[in-house]
Amino acid sequence: LAKTTQPISMDSYEGQEVNITCSHNNIATNDYITWYQQFPSQGPRFIIQGYKTKVTNEVASLFIPADRKSSTLSLPRVSLSDTAVYYCLVVYSGYALNFGKGTSLLVTP
């Protein structure tokens, strides 16, 4: 299973763009990169998934370089409600076995 490494925590002001980078050096050919968001007392919530290059949806963008050994989740103009833990997962067979510690994002006014 591919192991992921991401920052333990990040702070940001409202309105800024936040980029969270995840390393996954031993990603396999069939693995996808998936990001989840988790608020306190809730289950993780799917944000975005990609295989290579760039993926964008209404919530975030995901940048994946050609070697796929890392990925960057980009949250445009964060608000206070984006304060959460963000998990980077490398997924093959449709379910993640390792959530890792995630990145705790704190957005302040």
Binding site: Q42, F46, Y87, Y95
Partner: protein, 119 residues
């Protein structure tokens, strides 16, 4: 559409007692998963159902844990007898059937979890 629901939201039991957690997946989702986070640790996979069949139960900690999904709808996770180290948050998730291994993988839809406290 209704999301994944879990019951109860919180359970406090004494060591040695039995507790049964329930998960109702999103209607039509064949894949159902159980995860848990014990205090201070990461979220860990427990097992995976495809319909009523256990596809992967490699994460089940020991034989005190029994998961069932009769009829391929809701699932239960029973802990008997409960120990102190079983305390944590138990999450259930469901997903649609995978398209193929080389294409988009269905994201997991999580419930809000059941917080289990064993005293």
């Amino acid at each position: 559409e209704a999301g994944v629901t879990q019951f109860p939201s919180h359970s406090v039991i004494e060591k040695g007692q039995t507790v049964t957690l329930r998960c109702d997946p999103i209607s039509g989702h064949d894949n159902l998963y159980w995860y848990r986070r014990v205090m201070g640790k990461e979220i860990k996979f427990l097992l995976h159902f495809v319909k009523e069949s256990k596809q992967d139960e490699s994460g089940m900690p020991n034989n005190r844990f029994l998961a069932e999904r009769t009829g391929g709808t809701y699932s239960t996770l029973k802990v008997q007898p409960a120990e102190l180290e079983d305390s944590g948050v138990y999450f259930c998730a469901s997903s649609q059937e995978e398209v193929t291994a080389s294409s988009y993988n269905s994201p997991l839809h999580f419930g809000n979890g059941t917080r289990l406290t064993v005293t």
